[in-house]
């Protein structure tokens, strides 16, 4: 009885979340397609042709996985951060809090919504990429697993950000000052192996390096770090962030007085 109720509640949150970003598709789905096109024109065609090969592939092919991953990260994070904070701000989060919805269902529903947007945007960006480069696939399962785990990680991050946020400014601080620098320094545009030893060591504390590396392996069959290590880092991140999110929601931080 309780389990079927929870499944219906989870489906309701997911439905609401997916409907939300589909309803405002001009704001949520179109910009990543435009941004990625600009990246391809500038970094791929204009500058990339002068760079030559990287990791045994032409520069455009090399950056495709990183660019897709960048869109997945940004969209899964911002979807949950803005949706959950907006629900807090309008107080309609109370609709869930007063209902017999377990906290794990609330977390799973919002994270599922973030993953759905991250993966949909990832698919759109992949389709756009096909206009610029011949995409090859080395291992589809690695691609799907990496994109699912990465979007889950950043959806959880967005949820935690929204729980703590007290204003709309608070949900843009982390993407601007932490997420964007980490993404740009996460091996999207270059191979970590090109860096001096010291910076290679520093890069290893950047979790995005592991995600981009695993994702690139799925497409091109090359990676900066081993697949097992990448998935382990993702697994640890998901478990840690999920635990934090559950503790925060259970204690009612930012939600209950």
């Amino acid at each position: 009885m309780a389990s079927s109720r929870n499944i219906i509640a989870l489906k309701s949150i997911l439905h609401k979340e997916i409907h939300r970003f589909m309803r405002i598709w001009v704001q949520t789905l179109v910009p990543p397609a435009i941004t990625i096109s600009l990246y391809f024109v500038i970094f791929g065609s204009l500058i990339g042709s002068r760079i030559g090969e990287m990791g045994g592939f032409d520069y455009m092919s090399f950056i495709v996985p990183g660019l897709i991953m960048m869109s997945v990260i940004t969209n899964s994070y911002s979807n949950v951060a803005s949706s959950f904070f907006s629900a807090k701000w309008q107080r309609n989060v109370e609709e869930m809090l007063v209902a017999p919805v377990p906290n794990w269902v609330i977390v799973a529903g919002y994270v599922g919504g973030g993953m759905a947007r991250g993966m949909l945007v990832g698919s759109i960006v992949t389709l756009v990429s096909m206009f610029f480069v011949d995409i090859q696939i080395h291992n589809m399962w690695v691609i799907i697993t990496t994109v699912a785990l990465t979007s889950a990680t950043f959806a959880l991050g967005g949820l935690i950000n929204a729980i703590f946020a007290g204003s709309f400014d608070d949900i843009s601080i982390i993407p601007t000052f932490i997420l964007t620098p980490l993404t740009y320094l996460g091996g999207v545009f270059y191979s970590i192996s090109l860096l001096p030893d010291f910076w290679q060591g520093v890069s290893q504390i950047n979790p995005i390096v592991y995600m981009v590396s695993a994702f690139r392996y799925g497409f091109l069959g090359i990676s900066d770090v081993s697949l097992a290590l990448s998935f382990s880092v993702l697994g640890v991140l998901i478990v840690s962030l999920y635990t934090i999110a559950m503790v925060l929601i259970t204690k009612g931080i930012g939600l209950r007085s």
Binding site: N6, Q90, E95, L97, A99, S257
Partner: protein, 313 residues
């Protein structure tokens, strides 16, 4: 049979030290129409917030239809529908989506949820607006939407936190009618309101809360029976106001209005007999103020005093 709601020793101290509830006890029977009255800041919304798990309690126990919220929170929640004081729905969603999603949170299948949404939207005269976004609704419509939303899982207890605030008289009366209908169907209703007339007309039992303590908890008839004096306003034929009434304290307001204080052991008939003897014709008569209001003012004053003396102790 379990009580619909049993609260014991409920306390709430907010961060910063403000003690909103100082240990309240309250029991609401199944099928009751119960009023929780109190001035602003008395602790009504905090009490409701704790029942709905929107506010963390500091101490005490809350049991809903036999289910302790500390042990069986989700089961307890499934019995309750709540209409909060502030609008708390997504202003950008359509009415239909708000209702169907809310039903989903309670485990109601989508197909059934759509049927129920149609039923309550029609009942509350919102059906024509079903596909509009909620922000397009008037204040009264938004209140009705929140009532419909609270009913989507067909709860056994409905808690309404000032549901008719800012609603015009005609709409307020139709909402009263609807709430009576729900209560007749067996739904326990707990109402907080500023309109004392509303509480007197609808509710069978009442608790008055002031400064975080319950200052009165009884049935409406017993409470009103405590009223020692009632003031009636007589509208008389112009220029026929008496100078005085034999057994009553009275005041002449103008050349056709007389106020008379009638004690508990006196009858209004005696007033009419006296006026009749003086050849004065009465055109109409009404209560000067709502009876409950007079009691409320007295009780709230005493609650404040009790609270202050408790603090001194």
């Amino acid at each position: 049979m379990h009580s619909a709601l049993k609260i014991s020793g409920l306390k709430k101290t907010y961060k910063g030290g403000f003690q909103a509830l100082k240990g309240i006890d309250l029991t609401v029977k199944q099928g009751d129409f119960f009023a929780l009255l109190g001035p602003n800041g008395a602790g009504k919304s905090t009490t409701i917030g704790i029942i709905m798990s929107l506010v963390n309690k500091t101490a005490g126990k809350v049991v809903v239809f036999g289910h302790d919220i500390d042990q069986e929170l989700e089961t307890a929640k499934s019995f309750i529908g709540v209409v909060p004081q502030e609008f708390n729905f997504n202003q950008f969603e359509s009415l239909m989506k708000i209702l169907v999603n809310q039903a989903g949170y309670y485990g109601v299948e989508r197909k059934l949820a759509v049927q129920r949404a149609e039923k309550y939207l029609k009942k509350l005269d919102l059906w024509d607006k079903r596909n509009d976004s909620a922000r397009m609704l008037s204040g009264g419509m938004k209140r009705r939407l929140m009532i419909a939303r609270a009913l989507m899982h067909e709860p056994q207890m409905l808690i309404l936190d000032e549901p008719t605030a800012g609603v015009d008289i005609e709409l307020r009366r139709s909402m009263w009618e609807f709430l009576r209908e729900l209560n007749q169907q067996g739904i326990t209703i707990i109402l907080t309101t500023h309109y004392l007339e509303e509480a007197e007309m609808l509710c069978r039992n009442i608790a008055i809360i002031d400064s975080g303590i319950i200052v009165e908890n009884t049935d409406m008839k017993s409470l009103l029976a405590k009223l020692d004096v009632e003031t009636f306003v007589f509208d008389l034929k112009p220029n026929s106001v008496p100078t005085a009434l034999a057994d009553f304290s009275s005041r002449v307001i103008d050349d056709h209005t007389l106020e008379v204080d009638v004690k508990k052991n006196q009858t209004i008939n005696a007033v009419f007999i006296d006026l009749n003897k003086q050849g004065i014709e009465v055109l109409s008569m009404r209560n000067k103020s709502n009876r409950l209001e007079e009691l409320f003012v007295g009780l709230v004053g005493s609650g404040q005093a009790a609270s202050e003396s408790a603090v001194k102790e």
